[in-house]
């Protein structure tokens, strides 16, 4: 069961359709409703290893649907603290709940000032409207 379109106001966004939930020195990352809708039902999540370094604007994993494979772009730089095993086991969780149960990784930020370069929800809605 797919979620309905939404873009929570408390999240920060990257124009490659990724979101970040900032919590001090840490952040939880995922893909937006728009991204999962464009991909369709996810069948595979190629996750990074725990401890791996992720770099802002660079791919850190892959999500695969029945029709496409897409890189997941890191909105922020840091080190992977945790991978969401539930999405590894059941990738469709991302379609059902992209901002909750369908998160992808939790990272420790290496440069918290990067947060300032991310989009707020209004700016991201503008990106979506232009697609």
């Amino acid at each position: 069961m797919s979620a309905t379109e939404s873009y929570p106001g408390e999240l920060k966004y990257h124009r490659e359709h990724d979101w970040a939930r900032i919590d001090g020195e840490e952040a939880v990352l995922g893909i937006t409703w728009f991204a999962q809708d464009a991909l369709g039902e996810l069948v595979h999540y190629e996750a990074p290893e725990g401890g791996a370094a992720v770099t802002k604007d660079q791919p850190y994993g892959e999500v695969e649907s029945v029709k496409a494979v897409s890189d997941v772009i890191a909105p922020l730089s840091g080190e992977v603290l945790e991978v969401n095993g539930k999405v590894v086991d059941a990738p469709e969780t991302v379609n059902e709940d992209p901002y909750g149960e369908g998160w992808l990784v939790r990272i420790r930020l290496s440069d918290p000032s990067e947060v300032q370069s991310l989009l707020d929800v209004e700016a991201y809605r503008q990106v979506v409207a232009e697609q």
Binding site: H44, E46, E64, V66, K67, A68, V69
Partner: protein, 443 residues
């Protein structure tokens, strides 16, 4: 395929449809100054009978292994192709096998590919095979690409005793993949596992050929272990015709098995087109290049076949695809399927044993005639290197004049082996032919 000519009436109907008075009208936009005037300086046309005779006389200048005695191998082998292979391949629905763009309509070809994959997995001891690759060289580059992404490392190790063309193709692809290539020299015709162990540090994979480019058996399980200890993927490049008598790479902990499929079911054909095979452990399935056919059930619960994991192919993933070779070798891979199915494990073993005993006979005859084996302490399968005491190319040229092709001049690729010939002995050779070889080489 039928040839349909255009009649004058057809031509007039087409011209009328587009509103042109003549064919000449179609070229009226081309300025007269750049147009060729007059007739082309061509010989008068030949009649059909004359043309056939002309082409036959040209074709008769070709020489193949059915007309002269050939001990040439070095990657492409003169194994016998049973009549059943051509009989099956010449069925129209197989002969026109091409990249299936609407694949599930063609259940027959998908089933054939699925069976091919099954045979390759059984042969190599691997979990999953793709639907075949371009040839035995490009699958080595494909293996590097898998290894780079699976390990995140940017170095590949290749043994020097791996076929030179395979190494060359790996080195051609490597810069585009962002990979550095390190070669491990051979020592007396085989590879030292300790040298591989040192080179494998921080390597994505270690590629070795077994039996190697000198025909010698490698300490394959030790080479694989040296790679695995460094967490590099062990990639075995194997001769399918050896796997009736030698252990399957999956049974000595290789991650990927690759090879040239030609020897199993395809003619030498002046070295191409042929097919490569690539099989791997299941953890690499999503990194594998090319098509993979899967078995499933349709809405009515009937068995059916589908192309699976297509999302990683070039028509969807563009520059991030796992492979960008568009050439489809399905027909040649199907020849491999028919051949291997026709033989089965028992006959494949017997062919291997026949090759080995004939090769052993050839070694005995040549050493008995006073020649020296280049790597006499090594065990060989169907090929071996023999020193002829002077420049091998001269010896080969002289023998050819007598209708015997003694083998491949190893000095083309390896230092210190200018006087060595790689002699390949398949089940198609006879003891009489080997006796002739010994007579010619010992002169």
């Amino acid at each position: 395929m039928s040839y349909l000519s255009v009649t004058e009436a057809d031509r007039e109907a087409m011209l009328a449809a587009i509103g042109a008075a003549s064919v000449e009208d179609l070229f009226s936009d081309i300025p007269p100054g750049v147009r060729f005037e007059g007739d082309l300086a061509l010989e008068p046309a030949l009649s059909e009978q004359e043309l056939t005779a002309h082409l036959e006389s040209l074709a008769a200048q070709n020489v193949d292994a059915t007309r002269e005695v050939s001990f040439l191998g070095a990657g492409i082998y003169d194994h016998y192709v049973p009549a059943v292979v051509d009989a099956v391949l010449q069925r129209g629905e197989l002969l026109t096998a091409y990249t299936p763009y609407q694949p599930e309509l063609s259940q027959g070809i998908l089933q054939a590919i699925f069976e091919y994959q099954t045979v390759i997995c059984e042969l190599t001891g691997m979990d999953v095979s793709n639907a075949s690759g371009y040839d035995g060289t490009t699958v080595a580059a494909d293996a590097c690409y898998i290894a780079k992404h699976a390990t995140g490392r940017s170095k590949v190790v290749v043994t020097e005793a791996t076929n030179p063309q395979v190494r060359q193709v790996v080195k051609t692809y490597a810069p585009g993949f962002g990979l550095e290539v390190v070669e491990v020299p051979h020592e007396g015709g085989a590879t030292d596992p300790e040298a591989v162990r040192r080179a494998a540090v921080d390597a994505a994979c270690v590629i070795f050929q077994h039996p190697n480019a000198f025909g010698c058996l490698e300490p394959a399980p030790d080479l694989a272990a040296a790679a695995n200890d460094a967490e590099a993927i062990a990639v075995a490049h194997v001769d399918p015709m050896s796997l009736g008598v030698l252990e399957a790479p999956g049974n000595y902990d290789c991650g990927i098995a690759i090879g040239e499929g030609q020897g199993a079911g395809n003619y030498q054909s002046f070295a191409g087109p042929h097919y490569g095979f690539l099989a791997a452990r299941s953890e690499f399935t999503r990194r594998m290049p090319g098509r993979i056919v899967g078995e499933t059930v349709d809405a009515a619960g009937e068995r059916g076949y589908v192309l699976t994991l297509q999302t990683r192919e070039q028509h969807i993933r563009r520059e991030k695809a796992t492979s960008n070779i568009t050439t489809n070798q399905t027909l040649l891979a199907l020849a491999g399927l028919v051949y291997l199915s026709w033989l089965g494990p028992q006959s494949l073993q017997e062919v291997g044993e026949t090759c080995m005993s004939l090769a052993r006979y050839a070694q005995d005859r040549l050493t008995g005639a006073g020649l020296e084996l280049a790597f006499s302490e090594r065990t060989t399968f169907k090929e071996f290197a023999v020193r002829v005491g002077r420049n091998a190319k001269d010896v080969i040229r002289e023998a050819r004049a007598e209708g015997i092709h003694p083998g491949y001049a190893l000095g083309r690729d390896y230092a210190g082996l200018d006087d060595a010939i790689l002699v390949s002995v398949t089940e198609r050779r006879t003891t009489d032919e080997i006796d002739r070889l010994a007579a010619v080489l010992s002169r």
